[in-house]
Amino acid sequence: MWMGLSYVCWGIAAVLAAWMLYDWFKVDTTYSEAVLTSSREGELEAVSEKHRI
């Protein structure tokens, strides 16, 4: 059982790492660098936040 769990762990790690790399590529090719790095320190945006997921 423990050896099986070990293989499952390798599998989960590989799948999630691949997903993150895919998402990273997709985001970086969809948005401009200016948008992605537009965060500024200490900004309060909660009041006007209209972010929708």
Partner: protein, 468 residues
């Protein structure tokens, strides 16, 4: 970008900037701080008993508790005023200067990444110890721990810290259950403190053993200051950060006292000082399979919660360095959908994996403790400068810590004692790290600082400091 942008990610961005989300409350701050620290009760603190005996482990529990209470009070005051990701880095930048800030950020990244590595190794080793299967190694469990938690952090801070709250609470409650299961009010039935800790063996190496025990006494509370990294993501920094941090510190003081009492009453100091699983062993020694399994699971959950919080904090410190161009601004990207510093999370992921596969637990722990103590030393100087440059009444503070400058002086003195204790045990690592920070400071001063937009980095709307 002022117009809404529709993409294949079904994300809409309004306004000019993509920033971290302000979605956290005091409970998340508590979960971040206590989550990082609580693993220290499950392993780490007990090595203090090896250095100086069971009583030394208790003495440092209280004295180092004083150190961290000072840290929590000082941190709460400054962070309730400097509410920015990066925590102590942002504090140092505004109060001391860029070179100090750069070093503090590196202290943070090293302390949290090495702690994450230690947590992952502990989790892997615990599973291997439980399994007892020949040929089973910890590598797969380490990889899964680091990658799954990085993925969780990548997907959003709210879910990350909700998970941390639940698993930290379960791990904490397991300590409470263990404590009340062994009839702590009765000696002799299960607990045998008066037989195991006697005047003859309580301090086997005398008071120098107590000093040496400081090195591992740090583990009772190491990382509570990590709450400040959430400053830019809490809804009300001035309220949530002091409340979450102080509540976390009180929680930890209670957990530390219960842990010492149960473990020192069940195990001789010679064994307590060398085991990697003091609470799990305590569960076994009660003879209850239920408690044994509960403490096994709690050890895993505590390691997970700690690694989770460490990924959160290290990524935000690295992200802040990029945002101020102390490092390439590429690192300051925020995910437009999940609102997390995704490039910093991904950049630190293989570094943590590499260290987890090649470093041993003792080395990783030592580098984490060293970076942590360097940071606390900075905090004692930082608060003195903060109060001098911006005295009470000159700027609005969310929290004002009492008895200033006593906590700062206590903190500085205890840091010096801890440095001495580390020097006794790991002198070469202490010297190596000092040389590393000196060389990296030269690099920053003579090369990197020319890329920094000097006016942009100071974001707090404060009046000029006194004497400016």
């Amino acid at each position: 970008m002022t117009a809404a942008v529709e993409t294949g990610l079904t994300t809409t961005i309004h306004g000019d900037r993509v920033s971290l989300l302000r979605v956290l409350g005091p409970a998340h701050v508590w979960a971040l701080g206590v989550g990082i620290v609580l693993v220290g009760e499950f392993t780490g603190w007990n090595f203090a008993a090896d250095k100086g005996g069971a009583l030394a482990a208790l003495i440092v529990c209280w004295i180092v508790g004083l150190l961290y209470t000072s840290v929590a009070m000082i941190d709460s005051e400054v962070t309730s005023t400097v509410a920015a990701a990066g925590g102590q880095y942002a504090q140092a930048k505004h109060i001391v200067g860029p070179l100090m800030a750069f070093n503090v950020a590196l202290f943070l990244v090293f302390a949290y990444t090495m702690l994450e590595v230690s947590d992952a190794i502990l989790l892997g080793d615990t599973i291997v110890a439980k399994a007892g299967v020949e040929g089973l190694t910890h590598n797969s469990f380490i990889a899964a721990t680091i990658v799954v938690l990085a993925w969780l952090n990548y997907r959003g801070v709210l879910m990350t810290l909700n998970v941390n709250f639940v698993i930290t609470a379960i791990a904490y409650i397991s300590i409470v259950i263990l404590f009340f299961s062994v009839s702590p009010w009765t000696q002799g039935a299960v607990l045998k403190l008066n037989e195991l800790v006697t005047p003859g063996n309580s301090l086997p190496y005398g008071w120098i053993g107590v000093i040496a025990a400081f090195q591992f006494g740090i583990w009772y509370y190491l990382g509570i200051e990590g709450t400040t990294q959430a400053a830019e993501e809490v809804r009300s920094p001035a309220r949530s950060l002091p409340y979450g941090t102080m509540a976390g510190m009180i929680t930890l003081l209670i957990a530390a006292a219960m842990t010492w009492y149960v473990c020192a009453s069940l195990m001789p100091w010679e064994y307590l000082g060398i085991t990697y699983y003091p609470l799990w062993d305590a569960g076994k020694l009660t003879g209850s399979p239920l408690l044994e399994n509960l403490l096994f699971i709690a050890t895993l959950l505590a390691a997970l919660a700690s690694a989770n919080g460490c990924i959160n904090d290290a990524a935000r410190a690295w992200f802040s360095l990029g945002r101020d161009r102390y490092l390439p601004s590429w690192f300051s990207a925020v995910h437009p959908r999940y609102r997390t510093p995704y490039r910093s999370i991904l950049f630190l992921l293989p570094i943590a994996l590499a260290f987890a596969f090649i470093a041993d637990l003792n080395q990783a722990i030592t580098f984490s403790i060293l970076s942590g103590v360097l940071q606390y030393t900075f905090m004692s100087i930082n608060i003195m400068m903060f109060r001098k440059k911006w005295p009470l009444g000159s700027i609005r503070r969310g929290y004002t810590h009492p008895f200033h400058p006593l906590p700062a002086i206590v903190l500085f003195c205890l840091c010096m004692v801890t440095f001495f204790a580390i020097f006794l045990g790991f002198g070469s690592q202490l010297i190596a790290m000092t040389i590393f920070y000196f060389l990296i400071s030269l690099w920053f001063h003579f090369y990197r600082y020319k890329f920094v937009r000097r006016g942009d980095q100071f974001s707090m709307p404060w009046p000029k400091p006194q004497g400016y």
